[in-house]
């Protein structure tokens, strides 16, 4: 009996020593904003990362998207944000000037992350005053979806590349099949009609015009390019009646998903949802060059490192390993529809075997980001509301652009 106890005690001591001897994995906290469709794929990636090595354990906490930036801002202000966070590229400008994110150049070098394997456009849009403040995981540009079956039924043989081709193809589909010609959300419901702003910005950029002037201080669309861009949008709805009025975002997505719409404009993030719909035979192309060259609005999910009360280089190096791994495994993230940012991913068979992705991978080359001004959030809402109103009330281009210009300049004042 006594001997047994002695053995047991020795065993316990031995076990305790072994635990101390083995390296304890470092626990890294992070926040992401992915819910719904994207969320599954992101969680799966994090799980795969945790299983791929035994030094780092990533602990997640998904925050509801509508509250994400509120919560993030509060946490950043109190300096108790997690070790790494997911932030939209368009939002970086709200944070970087306030010094709440760490410049990453030094750590990127130490972690030997090869920046030359990143697509230049998304990477450069994470730089402020020459310093890198975030690393892009993806780009998710505006694209055009088309329903192959409806096109065939209506006798449309070519994916439209110009405005007139789009109009006539959509018209043929609407007339011959009874489906919606173009599913484009143009009213606010649970989600604002941001697609209108994204389209408007893209149509401007196709004519080499940015929505704000170079200094981001004034509206830059009350001109010929603006008239053309607005007219193209308004005509789809009011003149050709190819877009149903009062169509909200969810209905726009649902109608295309259910095979009840010929064309659909949206970001790439719905590819995954459309693929899971049985019986939907669709294609995706970059936003067509309706008014000039190819140019599509995009945003990007990036990783940024909040400044902590005390900076622990070991933790930051662990974060760098995580970011490196996540961006190198972009083919897993591409399942959600997003376009990976590392060119090394494009040649992987896992990526090549994904359907549709090759069709719109081009889109990443012809994209542009929202203007880098901290007022963009407010402008985005105001422009979307104003375009929604003008198109709903069928205002002429002059009245619409005058009103829009005033709203934009008032906010920028």
């Amino acid at each position: 009996m006594k001997k047994n106890r002695l053995v047991l005690a020795l065993g316990l001591i031995l076990m305790a020593l072994m635990t101390v001897g083995a390296q304890k994995p470092i626990e890294i906290s992070f926040w992401s904003l992915f819910t719904g469709g994207d969320g599954e794929f992101f969680d799966a990636m994090v799980k795969a990362f945790n299983e791929s090595q035994n030094e780092i354990v990533m602990k997640t906490d998904t925050v509801k998207f509508t509250n994400y930036y509120t919560k993030l801002t509060a946490a950043l202000s109190a300096k108790n944000a997690p070790d790494v966070v997911v932030v939209h590229q368009s939002q970086l400008v709200n944070y970087v000037p306030n010094g709440v994110f760490l410049p990453l150049d030094e750590y990127v070098q130490k972690a030997k992350i090869d920046l030359s394997t990143f697509s230049p456009a998304p990477l450069n849009s994470c730089k402020f005053d020459g310093k890198l403040y975030a690393i892009p995981l993806d780009v998710h540009p505006l694209v055009m979806y088309y329903n192959k079956d409806l096109m065939a039924k209506a006798g449309v043989t070519k994916v439209p590349e110009t405005l007139s081709e789009l109009i006539s193809a959509a018209k043929a589909i609407q007339d011959k099949t009874g489906a919606i010609g173009i599913a484009l959300d143009n009213t606010t419901a649970t989600y604002k009609a941001y697609t209108l702003t994204r389209m408007f910005m893209s149509l401007l950029m196709e004519q080499n015009t940015t929505i704000l002037d170079a200094s981001n201080k004034r509206a830059n669309f009350n001109n010929e390019a603006g008239v053309k861009a607005y007219q193209a949008l308004s005509d789809m709805v009011n003149k050709y009646k190819l877009v149903p009025k009062q169509l909200d975002y969810d209905s726009s997505v649902s109608s295309f998903k259910l095979g009840k719409a010929g064309f659909h404009f949206n970001g790439v993030w719905t590819v995954g949802a459309f693929e899971s719909q049985s019986g939907l035979n669709f294609g995706v192309v970059q936003f067509p060059a309706l008014l000039g060259k190819n140019a599509g609005w995009t945003d990007s999910h990036t990783f940024a490192v909040p400044v902590q009360k005390t900076i622990d280089p070991d933790r930051i190096m662990a974060v760098m390993k995580f970011i490196d791994w996540m961006t190198q495994h972009g083919e897993m993230w591409a399942k959600a529809g997003h376009i990976p940012t590392r060119t090394t991913v494009y040649s992987k068979p896992e990526f090549k075997n994904l359907p549709h992705r090759a069709e719109y991978a081009d889109a990443a080359k012809n994209t542009f980001s929202a203007p880098a001004t901290p007022k963009w959030g407010e402008l985005y809402d105001a422009i979307s509301d104003s375009l929604e109103e003008s198109i709903a009330l069928n205002k002429d281009a002059k009245a619409a652009l005058d009103q829009l210009e005033k709203k934009v300049n008032d906010i920028l004042k």
Partner: protein, 313 residues
Amino acid sequence: MQSRKPGLYSCSAGFRFFEWRYYYMHLAAHTKRDLILFSAPFLLVYMAFLVFPVVYGIYLSFFDWNILSGKVFVGFRNFVQAFSDEKFKSSFFHTLQFVALSTPILIVVGFLMALISVRPTKLGKTAESIFFLPYMFSTTVVGTLWAWLLQKNFGLVNQLLQAIGLKGVGWLTDPNIAMLSIVMATLWWTAGFNMILFSAGMKQIPDEIYESARLDGAGKFVTLTRITIPLLKDTTLLVVILQIIASFKVFGQVYVMTGGGPYGTTRVLVQYVYETGFNYFKLGYASAMSMILFFVILVISAAQLLSSKDEGQ
């Protein structure tokens, strides 16, 4: 009427404050200590989560602050800005619209519900539960539920309308209808609360009054207009004040159901305050607009309370 005890929800509470102070002064020391000790937990929470934020909000309304940078004192600029801000004006107007549309109907329906539910029958009890049930749901649940029901293309209501050969209505996307849809959802959601207040008031009216009226040959209608309604005056005043305050604070169901759309035609003031504060991070300006709303509600409530006291006593 003189012998009537002050009701559970009597509005005269504010005027009795001085009486209470008189009682308090004559209490024994240990009783006073107990009173304070027992109310301390509540008072602490109340201070931390209500009094402090209110005071801090007043302070903030004189600053420019985006949470991440330092605060900059701007005096009354935020208040001045509000009065030249089109979005503030339109949002304020939409709130007034909601108050005007929702308050009367919520009070009348709450009253009618109370009339049904105070009956000591099984039906009355059942009706009371049914009427009050929606009030227990959170804003998000109510908003999401109604947003789905009223959705233009796939919502249940329009599906039913189309099934009987009618055209679907843009319940939430037609600028002439969206606000009415929100009022409808709010009615379903909160009328039950007014019912509870009214029926509590009705239960305090002594049965003898009804009995003697019946003996005098008064019909149902006369009893209602001559006894129930006049004797519910205090309760009604309370319901009116609470309802107006609640309607001014409308936000959640609008945010979930229409997001302020179509094109901002249902954006209410609290929504704009929320967006300004938490989406555009202009905390000072958002606080200033809240203070304006607070002031408006304060003036309206005080005016109502005072005017009714004048005629009543």
